[in-house]
Symmetry: C2
């Protein structure tokens, strides 16, 4: 039932042990299989995306890297991976930043549509704010964003003025220690952002707000002078 796939993993590991080209004969012996079958196994791995290069008269080389076996990630683990990759894509040196963007693209490519939305709406900022206690339940906010629910905020701004307003949250931004809700504010009839640590109290309404959050996200991006992504 799993004999074959296990053998393929063994083959990958064997291939990585050698840094120099290895002949198919050697690999066949090490994996305990005939040469013909080894060629078939190599073909299978290549079909699955493994970067194995074979050259006549030389042998096989595995390009440096690693093949991740099938793995299950929870929604939040996936979100963590996406956010992290995006941070790397922004903050690291160009070469590593590209790698981050590539990794993100690879993951996004195999993501089902409903989850790709999450990738789009998890906007990332890297800022220099102070740490602060969070009074608001951030996971509840994420849920409100996902379900496109109206959020009623009891909010204190930088000057300490307290207001109460209904907003349409469509994205969550991650500063270093502070989260920002991106939302359309019914009061101001414009996009506003709210630091989660300045939320005094909040209520998630059962009614959906009348627009799609993806549309709001796009419109908000259009209003930005320097787009977060391109």
């Amino acid at each position: 039932m799993v004999a074959r796939s296990e053998r393929l993993l063994t083959l990958l590991q064997t291939l990585r042990r050698y840094r120099r080209p290895v002949t198919g004969t050697v690999l066949a012996e090490e994996t305990g299989v005939s040469l013909r079958t080894l060629y078939r196994d190599i073909a299978s791995l290549q079909a699955q995306g493994a970067m194995i290069e074979g050259e006549a008269g030389i042998g096989y080389v595995l390009k440096p890297g690693f093949m991740l076996p099938p793995m299950m990630f929870s929604e939040e683990e996936l979100e963590a991976l996406v956010l992290g990759s995006r941070w790397v894509a922004r903050a690291a040196e160009p070469r590593l930043a590209n790698a981050g963007a590539d990794a993100l693209a690879k993951i996004a490519a195999v993501l089902p549509p409903d989850m790709r939305e999450m990738v789009d709406s998890a906007t990332l900022f890297v800022g220099r704010k102070r740490q602060d206690e969070d009074k608001a339940d951030v996971s509840a906010i994420r849920k409100a964003i996902r379900l496109e629910r109206i959020l009623e905020l009891h909010y204190g701004d930088e000057q300490g003025r307290i207001s109460r307003r209904r907003v349409w949250p469509f994205a969550l931004g991650y500063f270093e220690h502070v989260r920002i809700i991106m939302a359309w504010c019914e009061l101001r009839q414009d996009f506003r952002h709210f630091r989660t640590d300045r939320i005094i109290d909040m209520t998630i309404h059962d009614t959906r707000y009348p627009r799609r959050r993806t549309v709001l996200l796009k419109e908000w991006r259009d209003t930005q002078d320097t787009p977060i992504e391109h």
Copy 2:
């Protein structure tokens, strides 16, 4: 050759489409397979780590999340994922931070030993430094770390004093816009760190330094008052 694994992916997608429990009969019809085989397929997926719950009289439910098919990541993409997850584990809200740590652990668990070293030696900082041009080739530095080569630095410190010293690099730290080389300094006979953007010139020697970089890393961590990780 790939019929079975493709069918399993189809099954996962079908299972995710339904939010409510689905009976095995329905799944069998949709994947075009007999009920008996479907039970076997479910078992295979569960054995591979998919979080599928089956209850008699109810049906099957897939816990929210996503199964990543086998994918090839380059060394740098892997490093980007690791760095990103680590940043999330440090900087995000507790819930998401845990998710980042979990994702990191999952990836590390399936990594071969030689690559797990890379995970350990890619230290992460989140700082608030200014962006600056990098004169040094960061990928060359990473190579020097990997091969445990002596690095000769022509370095200008914060006061503008220029020095030339031989160091044993063992890790690379990532600030927001600046990279830091962690190294043992032969001149000072102690651990020192060097901003890559302050490197005027550098030479990678062909000789290995006389200690293992993993040991250096561990010793350096022991000297820290507040360890980066626990």
